[in-house]
């Protein structure tokens, strides 16, 4: 068992798998993080990922380029994000219920549209997904697609925007103390809605990674809880982009490991027990860090102008 473990860790394929599994989580986690730093919980992620996965794939299937597909997925995410933003920010509805509503709405619209577009298919139609980057000549990165590179580049970018730019400061202010932000002349509603739209666009891309890079088709239960895992990862990461990347990689490490062990143990442990592992780990991670988690102070607190 130990030999198998060492062999696995020494294998570049394993680390390539870790990076591949982590990619959609990085996009999704950054998306959730942006919304939450602005003070809004976005439980629409699961459905937005479904919708982004579908529209991105549909665009490519209809003949558009792969990067156009990514842009379409981001746009889809932004549209649902705008709906979420309007419901939760100016209308100040429950972020829990509105988010779940967006998830139900986005995923049912995607499944409905899939069935309308392809009424009689039994096997999902496929596209030619992103190719890996053999040209780079690096052992682990060469097995990845450009989308993974984009995800990795977004981490320092989001971190820099949040920490070093006036825009990032505005986002953090409306998430910590909206009344003070307004006192400084910021439009709290606009900043919050903007952050949700941007974050939701990333969630759309997270979904599109699955249909345009990891797989080559859209199918039911494609997202399978990945969105919820991103919500847990953001808490685990303490709302910091760098830690979010670390969390996504750690999570992907365990997920890749359970896949290998599942093959290695030859059915001694039911495969379902291995599949449970990612979800169990997410819950454990949440409970472990919850006590010392420093939530954005205004998270989940709707803000109404003139009210205390």
């Amino acid at each position: 068992m130990l030999d198998a473990l060492v062999a696995m860790l020494a294998n570049a394929d394993f680390w390539a798998a870790v990076l591949r599994i982590a990619t959609p989580l990085v996009f999704g986690t950054l998306g959730v993080l942006l919304c939450e730093r602005a003070g809004v919980l976005n439980l629409g992620i699961e459905g937005i990922m479904v919708a982004g996965a579908f529209t991105g794939w549909l665009a490519v299937h209809a003949g558009a380029g792969l990067w156009t597909g990514v842009a379409v997925a981001a746009g889809t995410g932004a549209v649902f994000g705008l709906l979420h933003g309007v419901l939760t920010v100016p209308l100040a509805l429950s972020q829990h219920v509105a988010g779940l509503g967006i998830t139900l709405f986005a995923s049912s619209v995607a499944y409905y549209a899939y069935r309308v577009s392809f009424p009689n298919v039994t096997t999902p139609p496929t596209i030619q997904p992103f190719a890996d980057m053999h040209g780079l000549g690096l052992p682990v990165l060469a097995a990845q697609t450009p989308l993974t590179l984009l995800a990795l580049a977004l981490v320092p970018l989001v971190a820099w925007i949040l920490a070093r730019t006036p825009l990032g400061l505005a986002v953090r202010m409306v998430g910590e103390n909206p009344a003070a932000a307004e006192g400084q002349g910021l439009d709290v509603i606009a900043v919050r809605v903007g952050a949700i739209v941007a974050g939701s666009a990333l969630m759309g891309v997270a979904g599109a990674f699955l249909t345009l890079s990891a797989f080559n088709a859209f199918f039911f239960n494609l997202i399978n809880g990945r969105g919820w895992i991103c919500v847990a990862l953001v808490v685990f990461a303490g709302w910091r982009p760098g830690k979010a990347l670390a969390g996504a990689l750690l999570f992907a490490f365990f997920d890749a490991m359970q896949l290998r062990l599942q093959q290695a143990d030859a059915g001694a442990v039911p495969y379902q027990a291995w599949l449970m592992l990612p979800y169990v780990l997410s819950i454990l991670a949440l409970v472990a860090v919850a006590r010392r988690a420093s939530y954005p102070q205004a998270l989940m607190k709707p803000w109404r102008r003139g009210e205390r």
């Binding site: 919980l41 439980l43 709906l83 419901l87 100016p90 209308l91 100040a92 509805l93 429950s94 829990h96 219920v97 509105a98 779940l100 509503g101 967006i102 139900l104 709405f105 995923s107 049912s108 619209v109 499944y111 409905y112 069935r115 309308v116 009424p119 509603i189 399978n224 809880g225 919820w228 895992i229 919500v231 847990a232 808490v235 039911p270 379902q272 027990a273 599949l275 449970m276 979800y279 169990v280 997410s282 819950i283 949440l286 409970v287 919850a290 006590r291 988690a293 109404r304 102008r305 003139g306």
Partner: protein
């Protein structure tokens, strides 16, 4: 742009709001129907006919409404205390599994008890299983401040894998020719049919009685008052001496137990055994039902019948015109969003300046 409270909710508004939401929902869904290239009027007529147009349609709708009433109740009472139990789907499945474990026929999982006792054991096992699933989210929320939405959601995936593991392993039906289904429930534990030659079973009465009971508890008892107080403002409730943590934990357990019971009633009333597709998302639809009902347990009964009718009607409609059955999910989710906005509009005025 800001919201201005209208003051007390007028009775007229309380009635107009849900109807306005339904009208908006039907209008939005009409766009989707038209997009599929089907005649909107005929599609809606077929959905209505399939859901409510005949004795058979009503019987199917009421059969479908039974688990939805229970998952709707589970959501409604929890949401009343601002405890967001999104785990009813998993609780339903674990309840169903526990019911078969207590009252199963093959494989030595059944206990040798007289039927009434065994029935009680089956119901208790299911309720307990559902409640058990809420222990971790409730404790994590009250002790560590972990958001219960994420924990209950993640538990759904764990439970479904656990059920799949059981159906492959110890609880597999050896006579099912490799189909992943559990051993069957003892025949004498099955719920009686309410109407001959239909699938409507006594579980419907159980759901309605439970809804009335939940309404009475919320409305008339001290505990119900405490639940509402915690939901309205936990900090004020604590200041007024309401045991907030205890109330939250009790509500969590009750909510889980009701969802677990839904699993037992599905098994005893409809399927007779557990499969991995016995619930097409009843747990999640229950949340929508609770919201449509304004978190009122009696409203849950009506909302469940409405949603069940839409689902049953959409199934039968899609056999006649080329509109995917997913239109039912679109209608349900738009109804949720429309209801949220309608409720807000009933309580607040939107001032542009």
């Amino acid at each position: 742009m800001r919201l201005e409270a209208r003051g007390a909710l007028s009775p007229a508004m309380a009635i107009v709001a849900p109807f306005a939401a339904v009208v908006v929902t039907l209008a939005v869904a009409a766009l989707f129907v038209a997009w599929a290239g089907a005649p909107v009027g005929r599609t809606y007529a077929l959905i209505f006919e399939g859901g409510f147009g005949s004795r058979f349609a009503w019987s199917e709708t009421l059969t479908r409404a039974t688990p939805l009433m229970l998952t709707g109740l589970a959501a409604a009472i929890a949401f009343r205390a601002h405890l967001y139990n999104i785990g009813a789907e998993g609780q339903l499945y674990l309840g169903a599994l526990a019911a078969v474990a207590a009252g199963g026929l093959h494989g030595g999982t059944g206990f040798d008890l007289p039927t009434p006792l065994l029935f009680a054991a089956m119901v208790a096992a299911a309720a307990l299983a559902g409640a058990l699933l809420m222990v971790l989210p409730a404790v994590a929320k009250t002790r560590f401040g972990v958001d219960e939405v994420v924990t209950t959601l993640l538990l759904n995936f764990i439970v479904l894998l656990f059920v799949s593991m059981m159906l492959d392993g110890p609880m597999k039906d050896p006579t099912a020719m490799g189909w992943p289904q559990s051993v069957a429930l003892k025949e004498e534990l099955e719920l009686p049919k309410l109407v001959e030659r239909t699938r409507v079973h006594a579980g419907l009465l159980v759901a309605i009685v439970l809804a009335a009971l939940a309404w009475a508890v919320l409305r008339l008892t001290t505990f119900g008052f405490e639940v509402r107080a915690v939901g309205a403002n936990a900090r004020a409730a604590r200041f007024a001496g309401v045991p907030v943590t205890r109330t939250l934990v009790l509500v969590a357990l009750a909510s889980g137990a009701i969802a677990g019971l839904a699993g037992a009633i599905e098994v005893a009333g409809r399927t007779g055994y557990v499969t991995l597709d016995m619930s097409p998302g009843y747990g999640y639809t229950g949340i929508v039902i609770a919201m449509l009902a304004g978190l009122n347990p009696l409203g849950v009964v009506a909302a469940a019948v409405f949603i069940a009718g839409v689902m049953v009607g959409a199934d039968s409609m899609s056999r006649a015109v080329a509109v995917p059955t997913y239109i039912a999910d679109v209608i349900v989710s738009v109804a949720l969003l429309a209801m949220l906005v309608a409720t807000l509009a009933a309580r607040y005025r939107l001032r542009l300046r």
